[in-house]
């Protein structure tokens, strides 16, 4: 997991400081804001605990999207220092990715229900053009970009014809023209990794 050290603070820190200041006031009452604030490369931390011990980190337990900004705050009573740390070179991409993955998690249950319904109802259909006309498949496309991580996970875990949905949502097609389904699957998974949709 990439962490950034204080000496690497740069212009991104000024924004982050202002956000922290606002939150610091918010947290002053319970005297918990004596910790470091972190912005980590989003692909690595969402839903996970930082395990980097050098910083004496506490768990990242909350992500606040309410202000429309990425804030990762944690309160570590075991750590007496204070700082604002950001990963400026990744900030823009990180925020977009984090927001997208958070939205994907909101949709995960519905996606799984719809994908199972689609697979059950269309598994014997011989034409992809008919398979993808199923209402559940269309609903998944309607989820938009947030469905991309879920589609790629589904494609990774059990090969199926998710290519039309990915193509419709992502508005691109990384598959070579001569790719067969297995090769198309590899192309999409590679694309998903390079674009940060899946690990």
């Amino acid at each position: 997991m990439p962490l950034i050290k204080e000496k690497e603070l740069s212009k991104g820190a000024s924004w982050f400081s202002s956000e922290c200041s606002r939150d610091r006031a918010h947290h002053t009452e319970d005297n918990q804001w004596n910790s470091r604030h972190l912005a980590l490369f989003a692909n690595d931390w969402i839903g996970k605990k930082p395990d980097h011990q050098d910083w004496g980190m506490a768990e990242v337990t909350s992500i606040d999207f309410s202000c429309g900004r990425l804030i990762i705050g944690e309160h570590s009573k075991s750590y007496s220092g204070f700082g604002e740390i950001i990963f400026p070179q990744y900030y823009e991409a990180s925020y977009a990715t984090v927001a997208l993955k958070a939205r994907a998690e909101e949709l995960r249950y519905e996606f799984e229900v719809l994908s199972k319904r689609w697979q059950r109802d269309s598994r014997h259909i011989s034409l992809i053009s008919k398979k993808v006309a199923h209402p559940a498949y269309l609903r998944i496309i309607g989820m938009g970009e947030a469905a991309i991580p879920l589609l790629l996970e589904a494609l990774r875990d059990k090969p199926d014809h998710w290519f039309a949905a990915l193509r419709a949502i992502a508005n691109t097609d990384p598959c070579p023209i001569d790719a067969n389904p297995s090769e198309a699957r590899e192309a999409w998974l590679s694309w998903g990794k390079s674009h940060g949709y899946i690990d």
Partner: protein, 143 residues
């Protein structure tokens, strides 16, 4: 997917001694019938689909019959005739094909969507709503 799942959609297979292969999403019934198990034959070409060059990008029986004939299946027989050589049966709803079965080594075999292929079945076993009915059977000529 076990036989029980297949039989939910193909109830005529219940109680029959047929075989079920492993699932393979790389090919569909047309590729399977033509002996190409590495490609999903469906127009248009691209995005994991294969369609032979020089043929219209449509799913009409007329177009696919031309493709099948190019592969050597040139003799038409009726459904009540047992093929004496390899054969391909075309299922259709209206003018569009929906499915294929192939006759080889004395038995009908068919790839079901992106899943299993079933072997030692009859053409009637596969006449379900999503496939419609058999509209044409083409055989290789006798040697």
């Amino acid at each position: 997917m076990a036989k029980e799942d297949v039989e939910l959609e193909f109830p005529a297979l219940v109680g029959k001694d047929y075989d079920l292969s492993d699932e393979d999403f790389n090919n569909n019934c047309l590729g399977f019938a033509l002996g190409d198990v590495n490609n999903w034959w469906e127009p248009p070409k691209g995005s994991g689909q294969y369609w032979p060059p020089g043929f219209p990008d449509d799913i009409t029986v007329a177009t696919v019959e031309t493709i099948i004939r190019v592969h050597g299946f040139t003799v038409e027989i009726t459904e009540d005739t047992q093929p004496e050589t390899d054969a391909i049966a075309i299922y259709a709803i209206g003018k569009d094909w929906t499915h294929f079965a192939k006759f080889s080594s004395g038995a009908w075999t068919s790839k079901l969507g992106a899943g299993h292929d079933v072997s030692r079945v009859s053409l009637d076993d596969l006449k379900v709503d999503i496939y419609g009915t058999v509209v044409k059977i083409l055989c290789r000529p006798k040697q």
